[in-house]
Symmetry: C2
DNA sequence: CATAGTTTGGCAAACGTTTGCCAACGATGT
DNA sequence: ACATCGTTGGCAAACGTTTGCCAAACTATG
């Protein structure tokens, strides 16, 4: 109700421009003196359904006119639009951009095009996009860091081909296909890195734990420290609900520091949060990594160039694309895809920023 | 596959194909006992074309069934798909991501959705995408850093609504709408910044000058230095054809340094190239900005957080979205949009990376 | 010459939507 | 009784494509 009313005023107002005369099957058919069906069949490679002469004539026309089948008509005919929708929060996050880029490439090579939707991490926007995409008859939904909403749940339950990436929203129903990493393991790996450096006082900053990924990373980090004998009292924590991870990292670190001073080793659940911590450290005159070692997760490409002080658990976003495509294919073929957990590794960097 | 069938007792055919039972106008019409036309009119807000009783009944059904008009049918009817295509090279470039994000937001608010295509800066891929998008009946093309190809030229000449962003490809025909900045001015501003710091020996690194934007930035930089009395002999140049600007910056700087040593002030035509230069400087033991001041163009968001040594000409990518939408609207309404040149400003940063 | 089989190609339906046109119907005015 | 008019709502065409089915026109076989 609300939706339809909102859409109407705009739609009626704008004028459709003069549409260019497109070459359609009927154009060719008229020119060749055959029926539309014949042209369609020849264009689709059924060369045995017509006289060789006719085939040649039609093929020549297809060639010279530069005919390209109209996807709208085709989509209408059989439900397939060759479009896949990707919903992501905040495209300006380098990790999201990397996922989007890899997915786009994989889909294109498979003959699909990708519609990219920025949900800004807002449930309402996510739902609006889901509805809009369904009305585009998209063939698949790639939901990056999705939010658990009733509509998303309905999509999954209704059998729509949804693949979750990075974070698994807390949905009640049957499990949906997933692409990501073992977040607990990544958190543990970060802990190992700090331990191997012989540090004693640790810090941990994270954003809202409503997200499964964040929660698991934190849990993995904590568990590993506990395993290796670090008392809980030696682990400070900072948290921020800021949506922008840069700001969240800054705020969480301040909270952490105000409570217990600067730690020797700091774990940030994402590289962006690590950047936020770095800014505060600079402002406070704390030298990274001499005074405080920071380890993040993501290993953004830029780290190698301008953040030589940041160790990070590398997540292979470049290969997310093919994994996502594989999961979609599995759903299309009726196979229920399980989890695709990709390998991660620690990239240690300990350079002073000014050599 | 067998398992899902067992789990779903009487679910309709999920196996044969991706056909889902959609609620269409005819569904509603049958249920309400009226014709499809009537439902269509009511759904589109023509409430005066039917008996109030009928209207109420149909509206109730639209509500309860959650009807959403199918965009494919609608697109087929009148050529409008409510889709705009954006073609960009390399989504992982933060500047591109920022443009994509802003454009997506502006388009969504206007009721459009955006298809994002990564051309990887390859002419063939750009053309392939142009053709594919036309067969989707997209209503507009946003070409970021486009490449001059015959097909792109044909699109512009044919009157397709194309808006160029950032870089203006060298097309022979009439000028097409453009969104970007005054690149000459930005280059000059960078020169001013270095001059104001009292430096004497300058360096300039750039990528392929086939792009109008790069060429203009370089020209603006050079012109301003000349104006203010700097002899050409005091300006070293490095160039690289690497497509990835990070690598290009590294390679170009090496070329520059090998020829004439490290300059006091270095201008990079993009922030990514500046990052490349920074890496080489670190490896060479050159301190930035003490030994060498670097100024770039773009002012990526991350600079404020992890590149406090980099001054940059800030480009307002956040506001590119609305400017692009305005240009598209102008084209749709038949007005020929001229250039939309947005304001830029220098953001000076001179902090030591380790305080 | 009759029957059967093959090639060649058109007809029409279907997908979902919008919209110009027309037909009932009732009410009002003369 | 008749003309006029507004209301209500259906019919059908159109957008471009694919495809099952049927019908000619041949060809081969008996």
């Amino acid at each position: 109700m609300k939706q339809t009313q909102r859409e109407q005023p705009q739609r009626d107002r704008e004028k459709p421009g003069p549409r260019r005369p497109r070459v359609s099957l009927s154009t060719i058919a008229r020119a060749a003196g055959v029926s539309i069906s014949t042209v369609s069949r020849i264009a689709n490679g059924q060369l045995n359904r017509a006289n060789p002469q006719t085939v040649a004539r039609v093929q020549a026309l297809l060639e010279t006119t530069g005919y390209r089948p109209d996807n709208i008509g085709r989509s209408l005919r059989h439900g397939r639009s060759r479009i896949v929708a990707m919903l992501a929060p905040n495209l300006t996050n380098p990790a999201m951009a990397a996922i989007a880029s890899a997915t786009e490439t994989a889909l294109r090579e498979a003959g699909y095009v990708m519609i990219l939707c920025d949900t800004h991490d807002e449930p309402a926007l996510q739902d609006e996009y889901l509805a809009a995409m369904r009305s585009q008859s998209v063939e698949g939904y790639v939901v990056v860091s999705g939010l658990a909403t009733a509509m998303l749940e309905a999509f999954v339950e209704g059998g729509e081909p949804v693949v979750f990436v990075g974070r698994r929203p807390a949905l009640r129903g049957r499990p949906a296909p997933f692409v990501g990493i073992d977040n607990r393991g990544a958190g543990a790996m970060a802990a190992d890195h700090l331990l191997e450096r012989g540090l004693r006082r640790f810090g941990l900053i994270h954003s809202a734990t409503s997200s499964s990924a964040i929660e698991e990373r934190v849990a993995g980090f904590r568990a590993r420290l506990a395993e290796r004998g670090v008392p809980a009292s030696a682990i400070g924590t900072g948290m921020s609900l800021e949506l922008q991870h840069l700001f969240a990292g800054y705020a969480a670190t301040r909270q952490l520091v105000e409570a217990g001073g600067w730690p020797e080793g700091l774990f940030a659940v994402s590289d962006l949060m690590a950047y936020g911590a770095y800014r505060l450290a600079r402002e406070a005159g704390i030298h990274v990594p001499r005074d405080c070692v920071i380890v993040g997760i993501d290993d953004n490409i830029l780290n190698a160039w301008i953040a030589p002080w940041l160790s990070s658990v590398h997540v292979p976003y470049e290969s997310f694309g093919t994994a996502i495509l594989a999961q979609l294919r599995a759903r299309w073929e009726g196979r229920g895809g399980g989890d695709a957990l990709l390998p991660y590794r620690l990239v240690a960097r300990a350079d002073d920023a000014c050599e």
